[in-house]
C-alpha cells in the first residue's frame, strides 16, 4: 500500500509542469465597508474576479482611469492597505450542479447546511444577458400555486414574472412558500433566494419545507442579514445563474426573490461607498436596470431551444401600503403583474390577504387550464359585483331580492377564497369547489359554516367521487359529461348532511 501511494505521488509530480505567465497585479489603496480601491490592474474587466493575497475574492465594479473600485465577497478584515491584488481574467461565476437540489447554499455556491461539500466542474456566470426574442415563446403552461384565489383569478404561467407586494407581516413569504410546497411532483425545480433575511426566519422556512417534503425539489440560497452587502447584492443573480443551468436542460424552474427591497438597499450601500452619485431616495442611477436585467432573465424558451422556463416570484415590501414609492413602482413596471396583499384584509381574517381589485396577471390567463378558465370568469364577476354592493350590505333589510342575493353570494365567495397556510390545493379540487360556489350550491349554507362545508366536501370527493376529480385533472376541461357528474356529486354530498 505504501509503495502504491508513493508511486501515485511520483506519477502525479512527474506530470506536473509549471508555467510562469504574466500576471497583472495591483495594490490596495483604500479599504472600507466591503469595498476596496485598488491601483494598477490596468487590464481589469467589469465584474472580473480579483484575488487578494490572502485568497479573498473581490469583483471589479468601477473601472477608473488609474484605479479600480471592487466589492469584496466575504470577510474583508484580513485585507489592509498596500496588499497585493491579482486579476484572474475570469468573470464572476459560480459552480452549478444537480447536487444543489435539497441543499442550503450561499451566493457563491458553497454549502452552508453543514452537509457535504458541493463540487462541480461546471460554472455559470452570475451576470448573463437574458434570452432574446428569437429564443422565447409566449407563456402557455400554468404554475399551480395551490392557492385558490391566485390560481383562479391571478394565474401565473411558466416563464412569467409575478410580483408579490405588500406591507410587512401580510403573508408575502407564505404565498411563495405555499407555491414551492405545491410544486411537489409537478416537474418544477424551485429556488428560494433569501436576500438580507433574518437567519431565524430562513431556518424556520427550511424546516417547514423539509416537513412538507418540499426540499427534494428546492434549493435555498441564503444571504443573511449579517452577511456582507456584497452577498445580498449577488444572491439573486446567483439564483438566476443556477436557474439558467436547469432551464438550459429544458427543465422548468421557479425562483422566489425574497425580497428585492433589501436587494436595492444592499446595492445602494455598495454604490454609495463606491462614490457613485446618488439619485432619488439615494439609490444610484442604475437601480432600475439592476432589477430589470435580473427579472428579464426569467423566460419561457421555445422548444427549439430546449423549452425550459424560469418563473420568477419577486417579493417587494412596502411601507404603510405605499406602492408608489421608488422601488415598488420600478418593479411593478418590470413584472407581468402583481399580487397585492393588504394589512387591513389580513387583520379582518381574510387570508391570503389578497386585494383582488389591485392584483393582476398580465399573461397568466393564457396559461390556465380550460376548466379553471370556465369557472374563474364567473367568480371574478361575482366578486366585482359584491365589492360594489358591499357598502350597502349593512342596510340588509331594505334591499331588493336580487341585490341581497348578490351580497350573500359575495360573502360566500370571500369565505371560499380563504385558505390556510401550508395547505395548497390541487387544481381539480379548486375547480370543483368554485364550480359549486358559482352555481349556487352554497347559497343555502350559513356563512360561518362555509369552511367546514368545504373541508367535508373535499373529503367526500376524495373518498367517494375520486373518478370525477381524476377526469377534471386529466381532461383539463369541463365538458357536459363532467358537469353532469359534478352536479350529481355535489347533490349527493348535500344529501349526506
Amino acid at each position: 500500500m505504501k509503495n502504491y501511494i508513493v508511486e501515485q505521488l511520483k506519477k502525479q509530480i512527474e506530470g506536473f509542469q509549471t508555467e510562469t505567465k504574466l500576471e497583472k497585479i495591483g495594490k490596495v489603496l483604500e479599504i472600507g465597508d466591503g469595498v476596496a480601491r485598488i491601483s494598477g490592474l490596468s487590464d481589469a474587466m467589469a465584474s472580473e474576479m480579483l484575488e487578494f493575497s490572502d485568497g479573498t475574492v473581490a469583483v471589479a465594479l468601477n473601472l477608473e482611469e488609474d484605479q479600480v473600485g471592487a466589492m469584496i465577497l466575504g470577510d474583508f478584515k484580513g485585507i489592509k492597505e498596500g496588499d497585493e491584488v491579482k486579476s484572474t481574467g475570469k468573470i464572476l461565476s459560480i459552480p452549478v450542479t444537480e447536487k444543489m437540489i435539497g441543499r442550503v447554499i450561499n451566493p457563491l455556491g458553497q454549502a452552508i447546511d453543514g452537509k457535504e461539500e458541493i463540487k462541480s466542474d461546471k460554472f455559470y456566470p452570475i451576470e448573463k444577458i437574458a434570452p432574446g426574442v428569437i429564443e422565447r415563446k409566449s407563456v402557455h403552461q400554468p404554475v399551480q400555486t395551490g392557492i385558490k384565489a391566485i390560481d383562479a383569478m391571478i394565474p401565473v404561467g411558466r416563464g412569467q414574472r409575478e410580483l408579490i407586494i405588500g406591507d410587512r407581516q401580510t403573508g408575502k413569504t407564505a404565498i411563495a412558500i405555499d407555491t414551492i410546497i405545491n410544486q411537489k411532483g409537478q416537474d418544477m425545480i424551485c429556488i428560494y433566494v433569501a436576500i438580507g433575511q433574518k437567519e431565524s426566519k430562513i431556518s424556520r422556512i427550511v424546516a417547514e419545507l423539509e416537513k412538507n417534503g418540499a426540499m427534494d425539489h428546492t434549493i435555498v440560497i441564503v444571504a443573511g442579514a449579517s452577511d456582507s452587502a456584497a452577498f445580498s447584492f449577488i444572491s439573486p443573480y446567483s439564483g438566476a445563474a443556477i436557474g439558467e443551468y436547469f432551464m438550459d436542460q429544458g427543465k422548468d424552474v421557479l425562483i422566489v426573490y425574497d425580497d428585492l427591497s433589501k436587494h436595492a438597499w444592499a446595492y445602494r450601500q455598495i454604490s454609495l461607498i463606491l462614490k457613485r452619485p446618488p439619485g432619488r431616495e439615494a439609490y444610484p442611477g442604475d437601480i432600475f436596470y439592476l432589477h430589470s436585467r435580473l427579472l428579464e432573465r426569467s423566460a419561457k424558451l421555445d422548444e427549439k431551444f430546449g423549452g425550459g422556463s424560469i418563473t420568477a416570484l419577486p417579493i417587494i415590501e412596502t411601507q404603510a401600503g405605499d406602492v408608489s414609492a421608488y422601488i415598488p413602482t420600478n418593479v411593478i413596471s418590470i413584472t407581468d403583474g402583481q399580487i397585492y396583499l393588504e394589512a387591513d384584509l389580513f387583520y379582518k381574517g381574510i387570508r391570503p390577504a389578497l386585494n383582488v381589485g389591485l392584483s393582476v396577471s398580465r399573461v397568466g390567463s393564457a396559461a390556465q387550464i380550460k376548466a379553471m378558465k370556465k369557472v374563474a370568469g364567473k367568480l371574478r364577476l361575482d366578486l366585482a359585483q359584491f365589492r360594489e354592493l358591499e357598502a350597502f350590505a349593512q342596510f340588509g333589510s331594505d334591499l331588493d331580492e336580487k341585490t341581497r342575493a348578490q351580497i350573500e353570494r359575495g360573502k360566500r365567495t370571500v369565505e371560499i377564497l380563504k385558505q390556510d397556510q401550508y395547505a395548497p390545493m390541487l387544481v381539480e379540487n379548486q375547480v370543483s369547489i368554485i364550480y359549486a360556489l358559482i352555481n349556487g350550491f352554497l347559497d343555502d349554507v350559513a356563512v360561518e359554516k362555509i369552511s367546514q362545508w368545504e373541508a367535508d366536501f373535499h373529503k367526500f370527493m376524495k373518498s367517494s367521487k375520486k373518478e370525477v376529480l381524476e377526469k377534471i385533472a386529466t381532461q383539463k376541461e369541463l365538458n357536459d359529461e363532467i358537469v353532469a357528474d359534478l352536479n350529481k356529486a355535489i347533490e349527493e354530498y348535500k344529501n349526506t348532511i
Binding site: Q12, I13, F16, T18, T20, K21, L22, E23, K24, I25, G26, S39, G40, L41, S42, E65, D66
Partner: protein, 132 residues
C-alpha cells in the same frame, strides 16, 4: 473644473521638454507658484509621481524590480536587464534587486503592474493546488 494631478504632470512635462537646466529652474518655480495659487500644493507628491511616470514613458525608461532568494550577481542582473530591454522595447532599464529568502529560489520580475512569478514558492503553491 478641477484640474487632475495627471493634467498638472502632463503640463509640467510639456513645459520642461527640451529646456536647459536654467530654463527648467524658472519653469519649475512658476509651476510651484501656480500650484500654491490653485491650492494644489498638497498633491505635489502625487504630481511628482505622475511626472516620473510620464517622463519614463516618453523617454523609454522602465523601472523594474527583481526579487530573488539570494542577492543576484552582476552577470545575472545584466541578463535580466537585456531581457527587459527586448521585451518592453525600452531604451533604459532601472533595475532593483530585492532579496527575500522566503521565495526559496527562482526570481520574481515586476514592471509597473505586471508581474512574472518564477519563484519556487509559487511553483510549490501550484503543485499543492493540483495535488489537493
Amino acid at each position: 473644473m478641477k484640474i487632475s494631478t495627471k493634467q498638472y504632470a502632463e503640463v509640467l512635462y510639456d513645459l520642461t521638454l527640451g529646456k536647459s537646466e536654467a530654463e527648467v529652474n524658472i519653469v519649475v518655480e512658476k509651476f510651484i507658484k501656480e500650484l500654491v495659487n490653485g491650492n494644489q500644493i498638497k498633491s505635489a507628491s502625487k504630481i511628482i509621481e505622475k511626472f516620473e511616470k510620464i517622463y519614463n514613458k516618453n523617454n523609454g525608461i522602465i523601472e523594474a524590480s527583481v526579487t530573488s532568494a539570494e542577492k543576484l550577481d552582476k552577470s545575472q542582473m545584466e541578463k535580466i536587464e537585456k531581457y527587459l530591454l527586448d521585451k518592453y522595447k525600452a531604451k533604459q532599464v532601472v533595475l532593483n534587486n530585492e532579496v527575500k529568502p522566503e521565495i526559496k529560489g527562482g526570481i520574481i520580475l515586476r514592471v509597473e503592474d505586471e508581474i512574472l512569478d518564477g519563484s519556487i514558492l509559487n511553483q510549490l503553491r501550484s503543485l499543492k493546488s493540483k495535488l489537493i
